[in-house]
Subunit: 400 residues, 4 copies
């Protein structure tokens, strides 16, 4: 694949490093930046034949097969529009839009133009995440009851992120988009998100957008997808997911505790430790291969394979749109202090049905609440009478 990069900032460089590593057959051939110096520097650093300060030129260039949008959020829609005009496949960084409305227009443009629209939700491509999904699909943790996805660090890298107008918000739009889509995958993309409760505040920074938020997304089957996002966290980048199922649990730590620990007095070098690390001395927790741990290689592989195989990628513009709809409800809830409905004018999954609880019978008259072995060796059954609802327990002393 021959790729045009729109943008030359932090995330564009991260993408470029990932694309140009491990002898991939896919390569950047063009970079666009508003700022010529940046475009030139980027093209030089990654050895690209072309650079430009005109977006149309980058997209329309005959060598370009696919466009990778790494621009600030407020420029995504315009870039997608140009891709649609020139019928170039497009993959777009997260979040897709600043609002569901914006995302929906981008989705419509892509679908009308018949081009490929891939949503670069890298954290749904980390090796740990993909393996977790496989376990969940095999039923190894039973039915998913609750998920928690957490992304917290000391704040983003670029000025526009801190400007609500350009970014569309603060930690919710920046980090919550990851967390919401992670939860949606674990719970099931066919399950409709119904409503959202969200707390948000600007606790530390001199900005208008929120720098800390917690949200609960309620799905049609009763499952909850919790997100915890913050730009106020101290200690590095905290990326953790948790899943509770009726038959098991999954805990993923994608950054701060991955089996790599280092102590240094700091009398040696003072290089780059890891994205959003906060110190260079004492106990440090580097990540072996950051791009890999963050899902970039698997994400690009899926995107390019999907184009060649003429199939949808795991993460599509439609997914980006659903995420934006959930985040819209989160922002509304943070204002109204109410559970706000998720408004999805275009819902392509299952219709919400009353999810039926199945209780285990112990015998004809009782449900089994719990069975356990006590420290002294006794066995205890806790039962509920099916008709009367009365709860009783039976204890068997020891194992005589």
């Amino acid at each position: 694949m021959k790729i045009a990069m729109l943008g030359s900032g932090f995330i564009a460089r991260f993408y470029a490093e990932s694309l140009h590593s491990q002898r991939r057959k896919d390569h950047l051939v063009m970079v666009y930046s508003r700022n010529e110096e940046n475009a030139k520097r980027f093209a030089g650093d990654y050895n690209l034949p072309h650079y430009t300060t005109f977006m149309e030129e980058a997209i329309a260039h005959p060598d370009v097969e696919i466009v990778l949008i790494s621009l600030p959020n407020h420029l995504h829609e315009i870039a997608v529009g140009v891709c649609a005009k020139f019928k170039k496949h497009v993959i777009c960084t997260k979040p897709l839009g600043r609002t569901a409305k914006e995302a929906k227009r981008m989705l419509d443009q892509v679908e009308k133009a018949g081009i490929f629209g891939g949503y670069l939700e890298d954290l749904c491509y980390t090796p740990k995440f993909l393996k977790s999904m496989a376990s969940i699909k095999r039923g190894e943790i039973g039915n998913v009851l609750w998920t928690k996805s957490r992304e917290a660090h000391p704040g983003p890298h670029s000025d526009w992120f801190w400007d609500k107008e350009k970014s569309g918000g603060g930690a919710i739009i920046d980090l919550g988009c990851h967390c919401v889509e992670i939860g949606r995958n674990f719970i099931g993309k066919n399950i409709k998100p119904l409503e959202v409760m969200c707390w948000a505040d600007t606790q530390v920074h001199p900005i208008e957008a929120e720098d800390h938020a917690i949200g609960l997304v309620k799905y049609a089957n009763g499952a909850i997808g919790q997100f915890e996002v913050s730009w106020t966290f101290r200690g590095g980048m905290d990326l953790r997911d948790e899943v509770m199922g009726t038959e098991g649990t999954i805990w993923i730590n994608s950054f701060l505790r991955t089996g790599f620990e280092m102590f240094t007095t700091g009398k040696g070098g003072d290089g780059y430790v890891a994205e959003k690390a906060e110190s260079n001395t004492g106990w440090l927790f580097p990540v072996g291969d950051e791009a890999h741990e963050l899902g970039y290689p698997h994400m690009f592989t899926d995107m390019f394979n999907a184009i060649e195989e003429n199939r949808q990628p795991l993460e599509t513009f439609y997914d980006g749109y659903v995420v934006n709809a959930i985040l819209d409800a989160a922002y509304k809830s943070a204002e109204s202090k109410l559970w706000e409905p998720v408004i999805l004018e275009d819902w392509r999954g299952d219709e919400p049905e009353e999810h039926q609880k199945k209780w285990n019978s112990h015998d004809e008259d009782h449900y089994l609440i719990k069975e356990e072995i006590l420290p002294n060796g006794d066995t205890k059954l806790i039962l509920r009478h099916k008709q009367t609802g009365v709860v009783t327990q039976k204890v068997t002393h020891g194992k005589e």
Copy 2:
């Protein structure tokens, strides 16, 4: 101290083990149980001179200096009443009451009688918690912005816990009482809890009470105390606390990951692994000294020292009352789906005042949002103009 134990169930035994270990000078001398066989067995197991099936007898006995209530929740109030009548000091297991009203009556009885009322909130006495509190008080993590306390396991040990009438509720009253008080300590007991948002559901068990809940408690200084409680967790007992401060972070794992790991094929014995462990083979995570890790020894030491030194313990009946008031709001919120106010007719802390945000100036005209070093060695400052609010960034290439 000579102690009468009211109750002979799981928690009574856990308390007894802890009191009679490590050559303490304090001893149980009496046990009361409704069931004579249980009372007798308990007295035998712990070598107590007296047992009875009459609560008054246990409390009034001349040898008894202090009464330890380990009864089901619905019997706490009546037991406190008898202690007040006979002017015996009393320490009561958690939660204090089933509601704030009940707790308030217990508090009033104790204060009117002039007896000692200690609240056995063991998880506010774990060695890790005490050391964290000391760090926070020394300012080592700055201002606390958010706390999360999580207690989740496959469900409680006794039948009455599963009966809403006797227990006062489900996972919220059983586990949330711990989590709420942990958060209150981290944030500051003088800071008034203002309102609560809570989601609760009965996801798995054939019971009426909730078996899973998430709550956010908002404090007067803007801090959030989050609780996560569940009887649906698989994998053992998940006891974790997290604190985010402006200058640091604390993570505590009190049970499942404490530096003790064991793999067994299971071809050997099949003993008791740990409270609420779920398996005896494969990778296990035992706890060295459970009672210690759960805070019992430090809790009893503080209680008895407090009596001898004629001072308040760290956790009082008043604290138990505040916890109940917060849980009342949580239950109401789970029904109403609204943020519900915490109703405290008796508030002894600071009056809520508007907490003032202090922003760091970078120079006369700008606030500093963030300073960071990028992977390529560039330094970046993100600034906000004090008057216009415009966000800008300054990048310095390398370290020339």
Copy 3:
């Protein structure tokens, strides 16, 4: 118990804190130090009625029931002699002697005088260790094949430790005594230690004693007890044990990773973090209750209970003697570069017998080497012919 403390340094204070916590009925009543100011300060800090600069006076004092030796290594023997003279029970810090010869004389004195001789090997009393021992005794990890005990930190607290004459050596005598006895317990105290191979070097410090050593102790049943000791470790105090058994594995981390993690920018206080911690900022790993994690409370409980119950404690002067004999062999091996025999003129365990290997038969003609399931679902058996010794494998495709 009324206790006389001999010594007033770092370890004496650690013992005192532990003895005077958690409302124990045992108390220090006397302290001896060569230096009057130190004795006085110590007596004041711990509220002791007596202090002295004469060792005999401390031991002979009628209030004293038991003597706790916390003196530099070269003074242990003389103190034990005085205890024997006055028939006072004695418990002695580790190592017992500087050499097996010295330890043997101390053992003989105690046994001849008929007094109690307890060996304060605290790391064989940590809650994690005690629980591991119980698992091993129940057979949960099968036969122990190998143990590794590691103690490494940036060096000891007192000058005399760094002086080979007074201490008897360096990291081997200071830390190896712990590690050797931990391994001996895991493998079995009845199993005779046969020989030792040890590497030692002075890699960093301007001293004559070794500041780093690795040793292998071979036992009569073929098991290996490995020790790793160092005064050159950076990052805090690294206390880890590992056990490999035929049916399982145990991993213990007693200090640097116990489920308590903290990040601080350091803008707050700069208090004491933990024994031998190396920094006060960045990621820190405090220990909840250091004395407890290091085994002190359980150790003293066993010692005093043993005296009252007129039984041997878990760790005796005899154990201290065996440890010294193993360390003697380690020092000799570090010089000779040979496996050196452990010389035990007084061996009270099982006589070494050829340990017989038992192999599992697969069928009449074959032993089973291994059975496994491959990634593609195939099952593979690896077999060895009993007569010919030829190794073959059988693969079953899938699970049809």
Copy 4:
């Protein structure tokens, strides 16, 4: 690159999965196996145009640019011979030979033929390892004093591994080759390995080769490279490295604790968890992307880049030869129970020189042994007199 695979077993499949993932431009075009069915199955599974049962045919085929040897150890030399004959570049799985002699002949053949000889030591290419090496080279942990590399699991996958004649030995040759080369990299490839002490035993399996061994490799600068290898470990695959430097520490866990934890009751599926995992229920520790965590992608990238750039790869046939020489000494030592010299007739690094210890002066007369802050706030300096060698300490009370 167009690659011929020699072999079709476990490791050949692992290599193939890695080569054909992530849209690499390099591909297998040919497979050779003695067994036609296996060759055909392999070619089908990976979609290869050619397969053969004649090794010469595979290597000589005009489409083949490079040969990847994944054969049992005793067939490496013959395969390298054929590569040399047809002047095809060759990369060979570990260990290079069964002995240094064999490895040296392979090295000579490759050098004489002027072909590329890459040594597939994947564990020296894991992302964690590469990042550690970069830290060490920047001096972040000072001078390396000791390394420990551990590889332990329940035994290898193929029958020939268990046959000493074909494999060249047991756990030492199978796993020790990794560990030795890891240590050599950390300590420095230019530093000459001088001698080896090794313990080895057959503790569990009905085989002639060792199933457990510990070794110490002493280098010319005084550093020790320790290896711990076992086929008797229970609990999965234990892959850990540790490095102690004068200014820091590195701990790497490459498999069993990488931030991915899962509990399952086992009521769901029973798929493949991870290489050498031992159970499918309870707490499991999957690895996100095994091949990546084990270093395959980075290894192949370096190999193919090296060929294109006409440079040496990080791991060469010469490195494989040095490893074999160290393992030869280990086997000899396990027999003789002596420290055995490493015999390197062809040494290309620095000549061993007496490494000079540099001690820090405190003042004109003293070396500084240690400086520390005690729990009570006292500061303590431990000093050694330069002439007399006398050790003293200076304590400053508190910070007044």
